[in-house]
């Protein structure tokens, strides 16, 4: 994330442990709080971050311990959030974005992660390369 034009910016790295899912969304929530958003807007952002981070925890590194990266930049009232891993990548992004598509139904995944990210954020882009990793880029404008 090119941070040169942001009013404020933070970057977070943490291990891909499931107990860090709540930590990650709380951190983004605390950072975004400076815009004094509604509880509903904060909850939507935390939910979207939770979805992206949970995917990185579950899918990116299989059983390997490795890092997940979050960048968050604020410009005006726009919040840009990238959730990144250097894991196995997504072979077919279009298919992954489809509602109810999941590769882990046996772990009770609903396949709704990307659908929720798209509903709760204003913009979503997924960049991924097999064997290299995945970046989920999201943007949400916070109302005055």
């Amino acid at each position: 994330m090119d941070n040169i034009n942001f009013d404020n910016y933070m970057h977070l790295e943490f291990l891909n442990k499931s107990e860090n899912e709540s930590f990650a969304r709380a951190t983004v929530g605390a950072f975004v709080a400076q815009l004094d958003p509604t509880v509903s807007a904060i909850t939507e952002i935390k939910t979207a971050v939770s979805e992206a981070v949970t995917n990185a925890v579950i899918y990116a590194y299989e059983s390997k311990i490795d890092y997940i990266y979050i960048s968050c930049g604020i410009v005006g009232r726009d919040v840009y959030i990238n959730v990144e891993d250097k894991g196995i990548g997504i072979p077919d992004i279009e298919q992954a974005l489809e509602p109810a598509y999941t590769t882990k139904p046996e772990s009770e995944r609903a396949g709704m992660g990307f659908t929720i990210m798209q509903s709760f954020m204003d913009e979503l882009t997924v960049e991924s390369k097999t064997g290299v990793g995945t970046i989920v880029k999201m943007m949400k404008s916070i109302e005055e």
Binding site: T47, S50, E108
Partner: protein
């Protein structure tokens, strides 16, 4: 996240306290499933009044329990569903297999 439940005949009322995410849902589902099995539960009423946060891991968890009771014509009821949770249930199409009621007692009247 804690889980409080009571069984009324073949009905189980499950109240979540805290955050429902991927990390938390693992233990939650094991706890519920052992009650479904041991008490031969047919219908489940999920009470969300004390849920501070939920993401799509909650959807998977609810659908998983639905599959456990589906065979015996069991039903899933969702009560005290507030704004953001209602959005998630709508987006994920959960209301096609589960019904929303305002309170636990309203749900218990129709089971």
């Amino acid at each position: 996240m804690k889980l409080v439940y009571k069984c009324i005949g073949k009905n189980m009322v499950v109240k979540f306290i805290g955050e429902i995410d991927h990390h938390q849902s693992k233990t939650v589902r094991e706890e519920i499933d052992s009650v479904i099995y041991n008490d031969n539960i047919k219908n489940i009423i999920f009470d969300f009044s004390n849920v501070d946060f939920m993401d799509s891991s909650g959807i998977g968890m609810i659908l998983g329990r639905y599959k456990k009771v589906e065979d015996k014509d069991g039903k899933i009821f969702l009560v005290n569903v507030r704004g953001n949770l209602d959005d998630i249930f709508k987006i994920s199409g959960l209301y096609s297999v589960a019904q929303k009621y305002n309170t636990v007692s309203e749900a218990l009247e129709v089971v």
